[in-house]
Protein backbone atom coordinates (compact mmCIF):
# COMPACT_ATOMS: atom_id res chain seq x y z
CA UNK A 1 0.00 0.00 0.00
CA UNK A 2 1.11 3.53 -0.73
CA UNK A 3 -0.53 4.74 2.45
CA UNK A 4 2.68 4.54 4.42
CA UNK A 5 4.57 7.73 3.91
CA UNK A 6 8.24 7.76 2.89
CA UNK A 7 10.65 8.59 5.69
CA UNK A 8 11.71 11.84 4.05
CA UNK A 9 8.29 13.24 4.80
CA UNK A 10 9.10 13.51 8.46
CA UNK A 11 11.88 15.97 7.74
CA UNK A 12 9.61 17.72 5.41
CA UNK A 13 7.07 18.31 8.10
CA UNK A 14 9.72 20.09 10.15
CA UNK A 15 10.87 21.95 7.08
CA UNK A 16 7.36 23.19 6.38
CA UNK A 17 6.46 23.97 9.97
CA UNK A 18 9.60 26.03 10.46
CA UNK A 19 9.07 27.92 7.24
CA UNK A 20 5.38 28.54 7.89
CA UNK A 21 6.24 30.02 11.28
CA UNK A 22 8.78 32.38 9.76
CA UNK A 23 6.51 33.37 6.90
CA UNK A 24 3.58 34.06 9.21
CA UNK A 25 5.75 36.28 11.35
CA UNK A 26 7.07 38.19 8.35
CA UNK A 27 3.58 38.65 6.94
CA UNK A 28 2.38 39.94 10.29
CA UNK A 29 5.18 42.52 10.31
CA UNK A 30 4.60 43.45 6.67
CA UNK A 31 1.07 44.74 7.26
CA UNK A 32 1.11 46.91 10.39
CA UNK A 33 -2.16 48.65 11.22
CA UNK A 34 -2.20 52.36 10.47
CA UNK A 35 -4.76 55.01 9.58
CA UNK A 36 -7.28 54.28 8.05
CA UNK A 37 -7.37 51.15 10.21
CA UNK A 38 -10.25 49.39 8.50
CA UNK A 39 -8.38 48.75 5.27
CA UNK A 40 -5.40 47.27 7.12
CA UNK A 41 -7.74 45.08 9.15
CA UNK A 42 -9.36 43.84 5.94
CA UNK A 43 -5.95 43.13 4.38
CA UNK A 44 -4.71 41.35 7.49
CA UNK A 45 -7.91 39.33 7.83
CA UNK A 46 -7.27 37.54 4.55
CA UNK A 47 -3.48 37.40 4.50
CA UNK A 48 -3.09 36.25 8.10
CA UNK A 49 -5.97 33.76 8.09
CA UNK A 50 -5.12 31.16 10.71
CA UNK A 51 -4.18 27.73 9.45
CA UNK A 52 -3.12 28.85 5.99
CA UNK A 53 -0.91 26.21 4.38
CA UNK A 54 1.43 28.77 2.84
CA UNK A 55 2.16 26.41 -0.04
CA UNK A 56 3.16 29.20 -2.48
CA UNK A 57 5.76 30.79 -0.19
CA UNK A 58 7.17 27.44 0.97
CA UNK A 59 7.52 26.33 -2.65
CA UNK A 60 9.24 29.61 -3.49
CA UNK A 61 11.76 29.21 -0.67
CA UNK A 62 12.34 25.54 -1.52
CA UNK A 63 12.99 26.38 -5.18
CA UNK A 64 15.40 29.14 -4.20
CA UNK A 65 17.32 26.84 -1.85
CA UNK A 66 17.46 24.18 -4.54
CA UNK A 67 19.93 26.34 -6.46
CA UNK A 68 21.91 27.28 -3.39
CA UNK A 69 20.12 30.56 -2.83
CA UNK A 70 19.80 31.87 0.71
CA UNK A 71 16.32 31.66 2.13
CA UNK A 72 16.51 35.32 3.10
CA UNK A 73 16.71 36.09 -0.60
CA UNK A 74 13.34 34.42 -1.07
CA UNK A 75 11.34 35.52 1.98
CA UNK A 76 10.13 38.90 0.67
CA UNK A 77 8.94 37.35 -2.60
CA UNK A 78 7.43 34.44 -0.67
CA UNK A 79 5.39 36.91 1.38
CA UNK A 80 4.44 38.86 -1.74
CA UNK A 81 3.04 35.66 -3.28
CA UNK A 82 0.70 35.31 -0.31
CA UNK A 83 -0.36 38.95 -0.63
CA UNK A 84 -1.22 38.82 -4.32
CA UNK A 85 -2.80 35.38 -3.90
CA UNK A 86 -5.00 36.72 -1.09
CA UNK A 87 -5.92 39.70 -3.27
CA UNK A 88 -7.01 37.39 -6.08
CA UNK A 89 -9.07 35.20 -3.77
CA UNK A 90 -10.77 38.19 -2.09
CA UNK A 91 -11.90 39.43 -5.49
CA UNK A 92 -12.87 35.93 -6.71
CA UNK A 93 -15.20 35.55 -3.71
CA UNK A 94 -17.12 38.79 -4.38
CA UNK A 95 -20.89 38.63 -4.98
CA UNK A 96 -20.48 39.56 -8.65
CA UNK A 97 -17.95 36.75 -9.09
CA UNK A 98 -18.16 33.39 -7.28
CA UNK A 99 -20.40 34.84 -4.58
CA UNK A 100 -18.83 32.84 -1.77
CA UNK A 101 -19.53 33.66 1.86
CA UNK A 102 -17.14 31.14 3.31
CA UNK A 103 -13.50 30.41 2.56
CA UNK A 104 -11.42 27.92 4.52
CA UNK A 105 -14.16 27.66 7.11
CA UNK A 106 -14.47 31.36 7.87
CA UNK A 107 -16.49 34.23 6.42
CA UNK A 108 -15.04 35.73 3.25
CA UNK A 109 -13.54 39.21 3.29
CA UNK A 110 -16.59 41.01 1.91
CA UNK A 111 -18.87 39.14 4.31
CA UNK A 112 -16.94 40.74 7.17
CA UNK A 113 -15.81 44.12 5.81
CA UNK A 114 -18.31 44.87 3.06
CA UNK A 115 -17.96 44.64 -0.69
CA UNK A 116 -16.40 48.09 -1.11
CA UNK A 117 -13.69 47.39 1.46
CA UNK A 118 -13.02 43.95 -0.03
CA UNK A 119 -12.48 45.46 -3.48
CA UNK A 120 -10.07 47.99 -1.99
CA UNK A 121 -8.28 45.42 0.18
CA UNK A 122 -7.49 43.47 -2.97
CA UNK A 123 -6.45 46.64 -4.79
CA UNK A 124 -4.06 47.43 -1.93
CA UNK A 125 -2.61 43.94 -1.54
CA UNK A 126 -1.43 43.66 -5.15
CA UNK A 127 0.86 46.69 -4.96
CA UNK A 128 1.90 45.86 -1.40
CA UNK A 129 3.32 42.61 -2.74
CA UNK A 130 5.50 44.44 -5.27
CA UNK A 131 6.52 47.06 -2.75
CA UNK A 132 7.47 44.37 -0.25
CA UNK A 133 9.73 42.62 -2.74
CA UNK A 134 11.46 45.83 -3.74
CA UNK A 135 11.94 47.20 -0.23
CA UNK A 136 12.77 43.98 1.64
CA UNK A 137 14.90 41.84 -0.67
CA UNK A 138 18.53 42.10 0.45
CA UNK A 139 20.34 43.69 -2.54
CA UNK A 140 23.55 41.80 -1.73
CA UNK A 141 21.73 38.49 -2.19
CA UNK A 142 19.74 39.18 -5.34
CA UNK A 143 20.94 41.09 -8.43
CA UNK A 144 18.49 43.74 -9.61
CA UNK A 145 17.93 42.16 -13.01
CA UNK A 146 16.72 38.98 -11.32
CA UNK A 147 14.37 40.97 -9.11
CA UNK A 148 12.84 42.60 -12.17
CA UNK A 149 12.18 39.17 -13.65
CA UNK A 150 10.48 38.14 -10.41
CA UNK A 151 8.24 41.21 -10.51
CA UNK A 152 7.32 40.56 -14.14
CA UNK A 153 6.64 36.89 -13.37
CA UNK A 154 4.24 37.66 -10.51
CA UNK A 155 2.46 40.35 -12.51
CA UNK A 156 2.04 37.95 -15.42
CA UNK A 157 0.74 35.17 -13.18
CA UNK A 158 -2.04 37.25 -11.63
CA UNK A 159 -2.79 39.20 -14.82
CA UNK A 160 -5.04 39.04 -17.85
CA UNK A 161 -3.48 35.90 -19.30
CA UNK A 162 -2.99 34.20 -15.93
CA UNK A 163 -5.24 33.95 -12.90
CA UNK A 164 -7.57 36.76 -14.00
CA UNK A 165 -8.05 34.85 -17.26
CA UNK A 166 -8.78 31.66 -15.30
CA UNK A 167 -11.40 33.37 -13.20
CA UNK A 168 -12.97 34.93 -16.27
CA UNK A 169 -13.09 31.64 -18.19
CA UNK A 170 -14.54 29.89 -15.17
CA UNK A 171 -17.34 32.47 -14.87
CA UNK A 172 -17.98 32.40 -18.59
CA UNK A 173 -18.14 28.62 -18.69
CA UNK A 174 -17.01 28.01 -22.27
CA UNK A 175 -13.44 26.85 -21.77
CA UNK A 176 -12.40 23.29 -20.94
CA UNK A 177 -12.18 22.37 -17.28
CA UNK A 178 -8.49 21.42 -17.66
CA UNK A 179 -7.65 24.83 -19.07
CA UNK A 180 -9.58 26.69 -16.40
CA UNK A 181 -7.92 24.68 -13.62
CA UNK A 182 -4.47 25.31 -15.06
CA UNK A 183 -5.11 29.03 -15.05
CA UNK A 184 -6.91 29.22 -11.72
CA UNK A 185 -4.73 26.85 -9.75
CA UNK A 186 -1.64 26.09 -11.79
CA UNK A 187 -0.50 29.69 -12.21
CA UNK A 188 0.16 30.41 -8.54
CA UNK A 189 2.28 27.30 -8.00
CA UNK A 190 4.08 27.80 -11.30
CA UNK A 191 4.86 31.38 -10.38
CA UNK A 192 6.00 30.38 -6.88
CA UNK A 193 8.44 27.78 -8.18
CA UNK A 194 9.72 30.03 -10.96
CA UNK A 195 10.25 33.01 -8.65
CA UNK A 196 12.16 30.82 -6.23
CA UNK A 197 14.32 29.55 -9.07
CA UNK A 198 14.97 33.06 -10.36
CA UNK A 199 15.97 34.27 -6.89
CA UNK A 200 18.26 31.27 -6.46
CA UNK A 201 19.96 31.89 -9.79
CA UNK A 202 18.60 28.99 -11.83
CA UNK A 203 19.49 28.65 -15.50
CA UNK A 204 16.76 29.29 -18.07
CA UNK A 205 16.38 25.60 -18.83
CA UNK A 206 15.90 24.88 -15.11
CA UNK A 207 13.34 27.69 -14.87
CA UNK A 208 11.36 25.96 -17.60
CA UNK A 209 11.40 22.74 -15.60
CA UNK A 210 10.18 24.58 -12.50
CA UNK A 211 7.47 26.19 -14.58
CA UNK A 212 6.06 22.84 -15.72
CA UNK A 213 6.59 21.28 -12.31
CA UNK A 214 4.79 24.08 -10.47
CA UNK A 215 1.89 24.13 -12.88
CA UNK A 216 1.35 20.38 -12.53
CA UNK A 217 1.57 20.49 -8.72
CA UNK A 218 -0.85 23.42 -8.46
CA UNK A 219 -3.47 21.64 -10.51
CA UNK A 220 -2.77 18.37 -8.70
CA UNK A 221 -3.61 19.96 -5.35
CA UNK A 222 -6.90 21.17 -6.69
CA UNK A 223 -7.84 17.93 -8.42
CA UNK A 224 -7.20 15.98 -5.23
CA UNK A 225 -9.11 18.57 -3.18
CA UNK A 226 -12.04 18.17 -5.54
CA UNK A 227 -11.86 14.38 -5.32
CA UNK A 228 -11.88 14.52 -1.53
CA UNK A 229 -14.82 16.89 -1.58
CA UNK A 230 -16.72 14.83 -4.13
CA UNK A 231 -16.17 11.71 -2.04
CA UNK A 232 -17.38 13.27 1.16
CA UNK A 233 -20.40 14.59 -0.67
CA UNK A 234 -21.06 11.18 -2.14
CA UNK A 235 -20.83 9.62 1.31
CA UNK A 236 -23.26 12.16 2.67
CA UNK A 237 -25.53 11.57 -0.32
CA UNK A 238 -25.18 15.15 -1.52
CA UNK A 239 -25.17 16.27 -5.12
CA UNK A 240 -22.19 18.12 -6.55
CA UNK A 241 -23.36 21.68 -6.74
CA UNK A 242 -20.26 23.82 -6.82
CA UNK A 243 -20.62 26.64 -9.30
CA UNK A 244 -17.01 26.72 -10.38
CA UNK A 245 -15.77 23.87 -12.50
CA UNK A 246 -14.19 20.83 -10.95
CA UNK A 247 -12.71 17.94 -12.85
CA UNK A 248 -14.19 15.45 -10.42
CA UNK A 249 -17.55 17.17 -10.66
CA UNK A 250 -17.54 17.11 -14.44
CA UNK A 251 -15.91 13.75 -15.25
CA UNK A 252 -16.33 11.75 -12.07
CA UNK A 253 -13.94 10.62 -9.37
CA UNK A 254 -12.22 7.83 -11.28
CA UNK A 255 -11.18 9.97 -14.18
CA UNK A 256 -10.12 12.70 -11.81
CA UNK A 257 -7.82 10.24 -10.04
CA UNK A 258 -6.34 9.16 -13.36
CA UNK A 259 -5.67 12.76 -14.17
CA UNK A 260 -4.08 13.24 -10.75
CA UNK A 261 -1.69 10.39 -11.54
CA UNK A 262 -0.79 12.00 -14.83
CA UNK A 263 -0.09 15.31 -13.15
CA UNK A 264 1.99 13.59 -10.52
CA UNK A 265 4.12 11.88 -13.17
CA UNK A 266 4.55 15.14 -15.06
CA UNK A 267 5.74 16.94 -11.96
CA UNK A 268 8.16 14.19 -10.98
CA UNK A 269 9.57 13.94 -14.48
CA UNK A 270 10.54 17.62 -14.31
CA UNK A 271 12.23 17.16 -10.93
CA UNK A 272 14.16 14.14 -12.19
CA UNK A 273 15.87 16.54 -14.56
CA UNK A 274 17.12 18.57 -11.61
CA UNK A 275 18.82 15.70 -9.86
CA UNK A 276 22.29 17.21 -10.15
CA UNK A 277 21.28 19.38 -7.19
CA UNK A 278 21.14 16.30 -4.97
CA UNK A 279 19.18 16.29 -1.71
CA UNK A 280 18.14 19.87 -2.07
CA UNK A 281 15.44 18.77 -4.49
CA UNK A 282 13.70 16.68 -1.80
CA UNK A 283 11.38 19.44 -0.55
CA UNK A 284 10.04 19.89 -4.07
CA UNK A 285 9.28 16.15 -4.35
CA UNK A 286 7.44 16.41 -1.08
CA UNK A 287 4.95 18.85 -2.53
CA UNK A 288 3.95 16.23 -5.04
CA UNK A 289 3.48 13.62 -2.32
CA UNK A 290 1.61 16.00 -0.11
CA UNK A 291 -0.66 17.12 -2.89
CA UNK A 292 -1.43 13.52 -3.76
CA UNK A 293 -1.64 11.72 -0.46
CA UNK A 294 -2.09 14.36 2.24
CA UNK A 295 -0.13 11.96 4.40
CA UNK A 296 0.74 14.54 7.02
CA UNK A 297 -0.81 17.58 8.54
CA UNK A 298 0.63 20.92 7.57
CA UNK A 299 -0.31 24.12 9.31
CA UNK A 300 -4.05 24.12 9.79
CA UNK A 301 -4.62 21.60 7.03
CA UNK A 302 -7.77 19.98 8.38
CA UNK A 303 -8.41 17.87 5.33
CA UNK A 304 -5.54 15.55 6.02
CA UNK A 305 -7.31 12.61 4.53
CA UNK A 306 -5.35 10.19 2.48
CA UNK A 307 -6.61 9.58 -1.00
CA UNK A 308 -7.64 5.99 -0.55
CA UNK A 309 -6.88 2.75 -2.33
CA UNK A 310 -8.10 3.91 -5.74
CA UNK A 311 -5.20 6.32 -5.91
CA UNK A 312 -2.54 4.02 -4.57
CA UNK A 313 -3.45 0.98 -6.64
CA UNK A 314 -3.60 2.86 -9.89
CA UNK A 315 -0.12 4.15 -9.23
CA UNK A 316 2.00 1.39 -10.66
Amino acid sequence: SMLSTPSKQFDLRTYWTTLIGEINQKLDEAIPIAYPERIYEAMRYSVLAKGAKRAPPVMCVAACELFGGHRHAAFPTACALEMVHAASLIHDDLPSMDDDLVRRGRPTNHAVFGVDMAVLAGDALFPLGFEHIVSQTPPELVPETRLLRVIAEIARAVGSTGMAAGQFLDLEGDASVEFVQEKKFGEMAECSAVCGGLLGGAEDEEIERLRKYGRAVGVLYQVVDDVLEAKSKRERGEVWSKRSKSYAGVFGIDRALEWAQELRSKAIAQLDGLERHGDRVTPLYSFVDHAMYRGFVVGGDQTATVVDQDASTSQA
Binding site: S88, V119, L120, D123, P127, R149, A155, G159, A164, F168
Partner: protein, 304 residues
Protein backbone atom coordinates in the same frame (compact mmCIF):
# COMPACT_ATOMS: atom_id res chain seq x y z
CA UNK B 1 5.79 86.65 -13.15
CA UNK B 2 6.83 88.51 -16.29
CA UNK B 3 9.54 86.00 -16.91
CA UNK B 4 7.02 83.17 -16.69
CA UNK B 5 4.69 84.91 -19.07
CA UNK B 6 7.51 85.42 -21.53
CA UNK B 7 8.37 81.78 -21.12
CA UNK B 8 4.85 80.75 -21.95
CA UNK B 9 4.77 83.00 -24.95
CA UNK B 10 7.63 81.15 -26.58
CA UNK B 11 6.45 77.74 -25.44
CA UNK B 12 3.44 76.32 -27.26
CA UNK B 13 1.74 74.47 -24.43
CA UNK B 14 -1.27 73.30 -26.44
CA UNK B 15 0.91 71.76 -29.11
CA UNK B 16 3.04 70.15 -26.43
CA UNK B 17 0.02 68.53 -24.74
CA UNK B 18 -1.35 67.26 -28.03
CA UNK B 19 1.95 65.83 -29.13
CA UNK B 20 2.63 64.09 -25.80
CA UNK B 21 -0.92 62.76 -25.46
CA UNK B 22 -0.58 61.40 -28.95
CA UNK B 23 2.62 59.48 -28.19
CA UNK B 24 1.13 58.18 -24.94
CA UNK B 25 -2.00 56.99 -26.73
CA UNK B 26 0.07 55.18 -29.32
CA UNK B 27 2.19 53.52 -26.64
CA UNK B 28 -0.90 52.45 -24.65
CA UNK B 29 -2.57 51.02 -27.72
CA UNK B 30 0.54 48.99 -28.45
CA UNK B 31 1.13 47.90 -24.85
CA UNK B 32 -2.34 46.45 -24.23
CA UNK B 33 -3.11 44.40 -27.31
CA UNK B 34 -6.17 42.29 -27.99
CA UNK B 35 -5.42 38.70 -27.10
CA UNK B 36 -7.07 35.73 -25.39
CA UNK B 37 -9.31 35.90 -23.48
CA UNK B 38 -10.57 38.63 -25.82
CA UNK B 39 -13.30 40.01 -23.57
CA UNK B 40 -10.98 40.91 -20.68
CA UNK B 41 -8.57 42.65 -23.02
CA UNK B 42 -11.47 44.44 -24.71
CA UNK B 43 -12.63 45.64 -21.30
CA UNK B 44 -9.10 46.80 -20.42
CA UNK B 45 -8.77 48.67 -23.70
CA UNK B 46 -12.30 50.11 -23.53
CA UNK B 47 -11.48 52.19 -20.47
CA UNK B 48 -7.77 52.68 -21.08
CA UNK B 49 -8.19 54.06 -24.59
CA UNK B 50 -11.35 56.06 -23.86
CA UNK B 51 -9.61 59.38 -24.25
CA UNK B 52 -8.85 61.50 -21.24
CA UNK B 53 -6.27 64.23 -21.05
CA UNK B 54 -3.39 61.92 -20.09
CA UNK B 55 -2.31 64.39 -17.42
CA UNK B 56 -0.47 61.76 -15.37
CA UNK B 57 1.61 60.23 -18.15
CA UNK B 58 2.44 63.68 -19.49
CA UNK B 59 3.61 64.75 -16.03
CA UNK B 60 5.73 61.60 -15.89
CA UNK B 61 7.39 62.31 -19.23
CA UNK B 62 7.80 66.02 -18.49
CA UNK B 63 9.56 65.23 -15.20
CA UNK B 64 11.83 62.75 -16.97
CA UNK B 65 12.78 65.28 -19.64
CA UNK B 66 13.21 68.03 -17.04
CA UNK B 67 16.01 66.11 -15.33
CA UNK B 68 17.66 65.34 -18.65
CA UNK B 69 16.10 62.01 -19.59
CA UNK B 70 14.55 60.99 -22.89
CA UNK B 71 10.83 60.49 -23.44
CA UNK B 72 11.45 56.83 -24.26
CA UNK B 73 12.98 56.21 -20.82
CA UNK B 74 9.75 57.25 -19.10
CA UNK B 75 7.20 55.92 -21.59
CA UNK B 76 6.58 52.50 -19.96
CA UNK B 77 6.19 54.21 -16.57
CA UNK B 78 3.95 56.85 -18.13
CA UNK B 79 1.74 54.12 -19.59
CA UNK B 80 1.74 52.33 -16.23
CA UNK B 81 0.39 55.34 -14.32
CA UNK B 82 -2.41 55.69 -16.85
CA UNK B 83 -3.22 51.98 -16.45
CA UNK B 84 -3.38 52.42 -12.68
CA UNK B 85 -5.47 55.57 -13.00
CA UNK B 86 -7.87 53.75 -15.33
CA UNK B 87 -8.04 50.79 -12.99
CA UNK B 88 -8.94 53.01 -10.05
CA UNK B 89 -11.70 54.67 -12.10
CA UNK B 90 -13.15 51.30 -13.17
CA UNK B 91 -13.27 50.07 -9.57
CA UNK B 92 -14.50 53.46 -8.28
CA UNK B 93 -17.46 53.35 -10.67
CA UNK B 94 -18.63 49.90 -9.50
CA UNK B 95 -22.08 49.59 -7.92
CA UNK B 96 -20.51 48.79 -4.55
CA UNK B 97 -18.50 52.02 -4.69
CA UNK B 98 -19.77 55.22 -6.39
CA UNK B 99 -22.20 53.34 -8.64
CA UNK B 100 -21.69 55.49 -11.73
CA UNK B 101 -23.23 54.65 -15.10
CA UNK B 102 -21.30 57.16 -17.14
CA UNK B 103 -17.65 58.14 -17.35
CA UNK B 104 -16.36 60.69 -19.85
CA UNK B 105 -19.74 60.52 -21.57
CA UNK B 106 -19.53 56.76 -22.14
CA UNK B 107 -21.15 53.90 -20.23
CA UNK B 108 -18.87 52.76 -17.42
CA UNK B 109 -16.89 49.55 -17.75
CA UNK B 110 -19.21 47.38 -15.67
CA UNK B 111 -22.23 48.68 -17.59
CA UNK B 112 -20.72 47.37 -20.81
CA UNK B 113 -18.87 44.25 -19.65
CA UNK B 114 -20.53 43.33 -16.37
CA UNK B 115 -19.26 43.74 -12.83
CA UNK B 116 -17.21 40.57 -12.80
CA UNK B 117 -15.25 41.49 -15.91
CA UNK B 118 -14.86 45.09 -14.71
CA UNK B 119 -13.23 43.92 -11.49
CA UNK B 120 -10.94 41.54 -13.37
CA UNK B 121 -10.07 44.12 -16.03
CA UNK B 122 -9.08 46.52 -13.24
CA UNK B 123 -6.96 43.90 -11.52
CA UNK B 124 -5.34 42.99 -14.82
CA UNK B 125 -4.50 46.62 -15.60
CA UNK B 126 -2.94 46.98 -12.16
CA UNK B 127 -0.80 43.89 -12.61
CA UNK B 128 0.12 44.77 -16.15
CA UNK B 129 1.30 48.23 -15.12
CA UNK B 130 4.07 46.58 -13.10
CA UNK B 131 4.84 43.96 -15.72
CA UNK B 132 5.14 46.70 -18.32
CA UNK B 133 7.57 48.76 -16.27
CA UNK B 134 9.66 45.70 -15.46
CA UNK B 135 9.85 44.34 -19.00
CA UNK B 136 9.50 47.30 -21.38
CA UNK B 137 11.74 49.95 -19.81
CA UNK B 138 14.83 50.44 -21.95
CA UNK B 139 17.83 52.65 -21.36
CA UNK B 140 17.31 52.90 -17.60
CA UNK B 141 19.61 51.10 -15.12
CA UNK B 142 17.86 48.16 -13.36
CA UNK B 143 18.38 49.78 -9.95
CA UNK B 144 16.32 52.75 -11.06
CA UNK B 145 13.60 50.57 -12.57
CA UNK B 146 13.35 48.78 -9.22
CA UNK B 147 13.00 52.14 -7.52
CA UNK B 148 10.25 53.11 -9.95
CA UNK B 149 8.37 49.90 -9.13
CA UNK B 150 8.64 50.56 -5.39
CA UNK B 151 7.55 54.17 -5.67
CA UNK B 152 4.54 53.37 -7.84
CA UNK B 153 3.48 50.49 -5.60
CA UNK B 154 3.65 52.72 -2.53
CA UNK B 155 1.58 55.60 -3.87
CA UNK B 156 -1.29 53.46 -5.17
CA UNK B 157 -1.75 51.15 -2.17
CA UNK B 158 -2.99 51.47 1.38
CA UNK B 159 -0.56 54.33 2.06
CA UNK B 160 -1.75 56.22 -1.00
CA UNK B 161 -4.63 56.00 -3.46
CA UNK B 162 -6.52 53.28 -1.58
CA UNK B 163 -6.19 55.14 1.74
CA UNK B 164 -7.81 58.18 0.13
CA UNK B 165 -10.68 56.10 -1.18
CA UNK B 166 -11.23 54.43 2.18
CA UNK B 167 -11.41 57.74 4.07
CA UNK B 168 -13.59 59.20 1.31
CA UNK B 169 -16.05 56.31 1.61
CA UNK B 170 -16.04 56.70 5.39
CA UNK B 171 -16.75 60.43 5.23
CA UNK B 172 -19.53 60.41 2.64
CA UNK B 173 -22.72 61.77 4.14
CA UNK B 174 -20.97 63.00 7.28
CA UNK B 175 -21.45 66.69 8.00
CA UNK B 176 -18.47 67.17 10.29
CA UNK B 177 -15.60 66.40 7.92
CA UNK B 178 -12.74 68.70 8.89
CA UNK B 179 -10.11 70.40 6.81
CA UNK B 180 -7.48 67.89 7.88
CA UNK B 181 -9.56 64.93 6.76
CA UNK B 182 -10.50 66.66 3.51
CA UNK B 183 -6.82 67.26 2.81
CA UNK B 184 -6.01 63.64 3.65
CA UNK B 185 -8.58 62.44 1.12
CA UNK B 186 -7.30 64.66 -1.68
CA UNK B 187 -3.63 64.17 -0.94
CA UNK B 188 -4.16 60.42 -1.16
CA UNK B 189 -6.97 59.97 -3.64
CA UNK B 190 -5.78 62.49 -6.23
CA UNK B 191 -2.38 63.85 -5.35
CA UNK B 192 -0.66 60.54 -4.58
CA UNK B 193 -0.79 59.24 -8.14
CA UNK B 194 0.13 62.64 -9.53
CA UNK B 195 3.08 62.61 -7.15
CA UNK B 196 3.98 59.10 -8.20
CA UNK B 197 3.76 60.05 -11.87
CA UNK B 198 6.18 62.94 -11.47
CA UNK B 199 8.55 61.11 -9.15
CA UNK B 200 8.90 57.96 -11.23
CA UNK B 201 9.45 60.08 -14.32
CA UNK B 202 12.26 61.87 -12.51
CA UNK B 203 13.76 58.59 -11.30
CA UNK B 204 13.63 57.02 -14.77
CA UNK B 205 15.18 60.15 -16.27
CA UNK B 206 18.15 59.89 -13.94
CA UNK B 207 17.33 62.81 -11.62
CA UNK B 208 19.36 63.37 -8.45
CA UNK B 209 17.75 62.68 -5.08
CA UNK B 210 17.52 66.42 -4.51
CA UNK B 211 15.76 66.95 -7.84
CA UNK B 212 13.41 64.07 -7.17
CA UNK B 213 12.38 65.50 -3.80
CA UNK B 214 11.82 68.96 -5.26
CA UNK B 215 9.58 67.45 -7.90
CA UNK B 216 7.78 65.39 -5.27
CA UNK B 217 6.91 68.58 -3.42
CA UNK B 218 5.91 70.19 -6.70
CA UNK B 219 3.55 67.31 -7.48
CA UNK B 220 1.91 67.42 -4.05
CA UNK B 221 1.18 71.10 -4.53
CA UNK B 222 -0.38 70.71 -7.95
CA UNK B 223 -2.36 67.68 -6.78
CA UNK B 224 -3.99 69.71 -4.06
CA UNK B 225 -4.26 72.73 -6.34
CA UNK B 226 -6.18 70.62 -8.83
CA UNK B 227 -8.77 69.72 -6.19
CA UNK B 228 -9.13 73.22 -4.73
CA UNK B 229 -9.73 74.66 -8.20
CA UNK B 230 -12.18 71.87 -8.97
CA UNK B 231 -14.16 72.72 -5.83
CA UNK B 232 -14.14 76.44 -6.67
CA UNK B 233 -15.34 75.81 -10.21
CA UNK B 234 -18.13 73.61 -8.93
CA UNK B 235 -19.51 76.57 -6.96
CA UNK B 236 -18.87 79.38 -9.44
CA UNK B 237 -19.56 77.91 -12.87
CA UNK B 238 -22.72 76.78 -14.60
CA UNK B 239 -23.17 73.19 -15.74
CA UNK B 240 -22.81 74.27 -19.33
CA UNK B 241 -19.46 75.90 -18.74
CA UNK B 242 -18.19 72.88 -16.82
CA UNK B 243 -19.49 70.20 -19.13
CA UNK B 244 -20.82 68.39 -16.08
CA UNK B 245 -23.42 68.98 -13.42
CA UNK B 246 -22.43 72.08 -11.43
CA UNK B 247 -23.13 72.21 -7.74
CA UNK B 248 -23.05 68.41 -7.72
CA UNK B 249 -20.82 68.45 -4.67
CA UNK B 250 -23.23 70.68 -2.77
CA UNK B 251 -26.15 68.48 -3.72
CA UNK B 252 -24.28 65.37 -2.67
CA UNK B 253 -23.41 67.11 0.60
CA UNK B 254 -19.75 66.63 -0.11
CA UNK B 255 -17.21 68.55 1.90
CA UNK B 256 -15.39 71.06 -0.31
CA UNK B 257 -12.84 73.81 0.24
CA UNK B 258 -15.32 76.67 -0.40
CA UNK B 259 -17.68 75.10 2.12
CA UNK B 260 -14.99 74.76 4.74
CA UNK B 261 -13.02 78.01 4.26
CA UNK B 262 -15.19 80.18 2.04
CA UNK B 263 -14.70 81.09 -1.60
CA UNK B 264 -12.23 83.93 -1.07
CA UNK B 265 -9.97 81.93 1.22
CA UNK B 266 -10.11 78.99 -1.20
CA UNK B 267 -8.91 81.26 -3.99
CA UNK B 268 -6.06 82.50 -1.81
CA UNK B 269 -5.14 78.93 -0.93
CA UNK B 270 -5.09 78.01 -4.61
CA UNK B 271 -2.76 80.90 -5.35
CA UNK B 272 -0.44 79.87 -2.50
CA UNK B 273 -0.28 76.34 -3.86
CA UNK B 274 0.44 77.59 -7.37
CA UNK B 275 3.31 79.73 -6.14
CA UNK B 276 4.72 76.97 -3.99
CA UNK B 277 4.60 74.58 -6.93
CA UNK B 278 6.41 77.03 -9.18
CA UNK B 279 8.99 77.69 -6.45
CA UNK B 280 10.05 74.05 -6.66
CA UNK B 281 10.82 74.50 -10.35
CA UNK B 282 12.83 77.69 -9.96
CA UNK B 283 16.25 76.03 -9.88
CA UNK B 284 15.75 74.00 -13.04
CA UNK B 285 16.62 75.19 -16.53
CA UNK B 286 13.61 77.43 -17.36
CA UNK B 287 13.40 76.13 -20.92
CA UNK B 288 13.16 72.57 -19.73
CA UNK B 289 10.77 73.53 -16.94
CA UNK B 290 8.38 75.27 -19.34
CA UNK B 291 5.98 72.29 -19.71
CA UNK B 292 5.56 71.87 -15.94
CA UNK B 293 5.24 75.64 -15.40
CA UNK B 294 2.53 75.78 -18.05
CA UNK B 295 0.80 72.74 -16.59
CA UNK B 296 0.72 74.37 -13.18
CA UNK B 297 -0.78 77.57 -14.55
CA UNK B 298 -3.21 75.56 -16.64
CA UNK B 299 -4.45 73.71 -13.56
CA UNK B 300 -4.70 76.96 -11.59
CA UNK B 301 -6.44 79.08 -14.20
CA UNK B 302 -8.58 76.57 -16.05
CA UNK B 303 -12.23 77.51 -16.43
CA UNK B 304 -13.68 74.02 -16.66
Amino acid sequence: ETEEEAQEATFNFKAYLLQKANSVNKALDKAVSLKDPIKIHEAMRYSLLAGGKRVRPILCIAACELVGGLESMAMPSACAVEMIHTMSLIHDDLPCMDNDDLRRGKPTNHKVFGEDVAILAGDALLAFAFEHIATATIGVPPSKIIRVVGELARVIGSEGLVAGQVVDIGSTGLSDVGLEELEFIHLHKTAALLEGSVVIGAIAGGGSDEQIEKLRKFARCIGLLFQVVDDILDVTKSSQELGKTAGKDLLADKTTYPKLMGLEKSREFAEELRKEALDQLSEFDPNKAAPLISLTNYIAFRQN
